[in-house]
């Protein structure tokens, strides 16, 4: 992943090394049991500069690019997903609005404090009645003179328990009409901000998740981030960062599961030989390694696109879906290969599985995102390019196989458009199928693009590419020959699993 600023090349290795050292002192099982972060952890994270990863250097941060921040978040997630979620949310959805859209005074007042970790950031979009459909957001910010008055409640606010600054998506009828939303920066210390109790969760139990209610909270109008009334567009931009950082967290989880499972498979003996020597186990391990490789390649690809200033709406959604599904599958295989040991908490596999489950849901449920990706394909959106360029393998064979599968999917999209016309955009099943096939081929291409240098890397990347191309072919075969929708559903679900 390339840095936007050459100076950060020097910073990144230091931050990664410090993060690894911090990781060695963390006890993920204890964090999970106690369902909170240790009391001294936030100051320690702050001391390492982790709250300022993506805040520009002139404003007190490290000024890392999205791609670089992803490497740090993946490193944290390898040790503990709750900590990675806390930092990732702060660096992405929490502070990105202020960095990109805040006016000079807001940036001056808040960014240094957010970079130092004196203040932690949170993001409030979801509400009890507004999940994946953000247009159902009912929290409203009314204009009153030079101020905005907020009423409403946000749900599932990550970092809510200790955040000092919330970026809130609210309806602003006086700023653009009844169907206008704006992003508003709301400090926690304003009268009328009420933070609810911590939610009890299946996973990432150490991260804070609360409701936040706004009862007539007043903030200056200058706290609107970006263009008044354009909050929905801005929120989607912030979600691109959030999804990429979440994908990076999934990569860390996947690495941890793969590493532990490889060690277990080499050590554990059954029927007189190590598990790793059994063909069926080898199949699982190869699949896990391929998935982890493809995940890394996709996250790096989004980081590169962002660094080049290119659109990342579809690539970030693709990375989020692929990596969250991939991490869950990988953790499930890890539990399986650990046998009964995987099912008890001692090995940590159960925790990995529980921790990554939510990533298939939040920041856009995967089912919804697949439909969105399929729609982007159907409408020929510019950022649906599946081919990933990179310095990877020059072996023409996997590339040729990829081209064939790619042409098949293109033909399928063209045929669907021709046959269905605009009715296609309301056929969610078809759109989801197209989206998932796109994901498999995008992951395959990214795997090949990053296959190298070195013989081992070429072999791994080429294998990952072939794995996902083969699966795409199989799915396309069944998709085009399936007798009914149920059979097509089954075919496509297998692409990512």
């Amino acid at each position: 992943m390339q840095s936007a600023d050459p100076a950060t090349h020097d910073v990144l290795p230091i931050v990664l090394e410090q993060t690894r050292r911090l990781g060695r002192t963390l006890d993920a099982a204890a964090i999970d049991r106690q369902a909170r972060l240790p009391g001294d952890l936030l100051p320690r994270l702050a001391e390492l500069g982790l709250f300022g990863l993506t805040i520009p250097a002139p404003e007190g941060g490290l000024g890392l690019s999205l791609g670089e921040a992803c490497q740090v978040v993946a490193e944290l997630a390898e040790v503990d997903r709750s900590v990675a979620t806390t930092v990732g949310l702060h660096c992405g959805l929490g502070t990105r609005g202020l960095v990109e859209l805040g006016d000079e005074a807001l940036r001056r007042r808040w960014l240094a404090r957010l970079a130092s970790g004196e203040v932690v950031a949170a993001f409030g979009a979801t509400e009890p009645g507004a999940g994946s459909d953000l247009t159902a957001v009912a929290t409203t910010a009314h204009v009153e003179g030079d101020a905005l008055r907020l009423e409403g409640e946000k749900a599932y606010v990550t970092n809510g328990g200790f955040a000092g600054m919330f970026t809130v998506l609210a309806r602003t009828p006086e700023l653009g009409g009844n169907r206008a939303w704006s992003l508003v920066a709301v400090p926690r210390d304003r009268p009328g901000v009420h933070v609810g109790a911590e939610e009890h969760k299946l996973g990432i139990r150490g991260s804070s998740t609360t409701t936040v209610r706004f009862d007539g909270v007043r903030v200056p109008r200058s706290h609107v981030l970006g263009e008044p009334g354009a909050g929905m567009v801005h929120a989607h931009r912030l979600l691109e960062w959030g999804r990429t950082l979440m994908a990076a967290g999934c990569l860390g989880t996947a690495r941890a599961a793969l590493r532990a499972t490889l060690a277990h498979a080499r050590m554990r003996r059954q029927f007189g030989r190590p598990l790793a020597d059994f063909q069926v186990v080898e199949g699982h391990l190869a699949r896990m390694a391929s998935t982890a490789w493809a995940m890394e390649a996709l996250v790096a690809h989004v980081g590169r696109l962002e660094g080049e200033g290119r659109p990342i709406a579809v690539p970030s959604a693709a990375a989020k879906v692929f990596c969250s599904e991939g991490a869950f599958d990988l953790c499930d295989r890890a539990v399986q290969l650990h046998g009964a040991l995987g099912f008890v908490e001692d090995t940590g596999m159960a925790l990995l599985l529980r921790d990554c489950r939510v990533t298939r849901i939040f920041e856009g449920a995967n089912d919804v995102l697949c439909v969105r990706i399929g729609t982007a394909l159907a409408t020929g959106a510019p950022d649906t390019e599946r081919l990933v360029h990179g310095p990877g393998s020059v072996d023409p064979e996997p590339h040729r196989e990829w081209m064939t599968a790619n042409a098949r999917l293109d033909a399928l999209v063209d045929e669907a458009r021709r046959r269905r016309g605009i009715a296609l955009v309301r056929d969610q099943r078809w759109l989801a199928w197209l989206g998932q096939a796109h994901l498999a081929l995008h992951a395959a291409s990214a795997s090949l693009a990053t296959a190298g240098p070195g013989a081992d890397a070429i072999a791994r990347g080429t294998h990952a590419c072939k794995t996902f191309v083969r699966r795409a072919h199989e799915a396309l075969d069944r998709l085009t020959h399936a007798p009914d929708d149920t059979a097509r559903d089954a075919a496509l679900m297998e692409i990512l699993r």
Binding site: T135, G176, G177, N178, R179, A180, W181, G229, A230, M232, V233, H236, R372, T375, A378, T379, G380, A381, R417, G421, I422, A423, L424, V425, R426
Partner: protein
């Protein structure tokens, strides 16, 4: 069948109001689907798809991509409606 252009226009605006959760008199022909009515690109295409079904006309995705305002949508649908309802007459005349 909605044979009156004004009736079809009213129906289009009524559906847009339903989908955008607005009162009928709040929808203006100058409203932009995305910026003023909060629809994303998928939402506006879904709207046109619903309207095409309602008016029983076939629309291509490419043709619908340039629609930006409520007025654009009304005109686009009316144009396609007239073209497609006129087609059988033209075809039978050719035979």
């Amino acid at each position: 069948m909605r044979s009156d252009p004004q009736q079809r226009r009213n129906r289009v605006i009524s559906l847009i109001a339903d989908i955008a959760e607005l009162e009928l008199d709040e929808v203006r022909e100058g409203h932009r689907l995305r910026e003023d009515l909060g629809m994303d690109s998928l939402g506006s295409l879904e709207l046109l798809s619903t309207l095409s079904e309602e008016l029983r006309i076939d629309l291509e995705i490419e043709d619908a991509m340039g629609i930006e305002t409520v007025g654009d949508a009304c005109e686009f649908l009316e144009r396609n409606y007239l073209a497609q309802t006129a087609q059988p007459v033209a075809q039978s005349a050719e035979r």
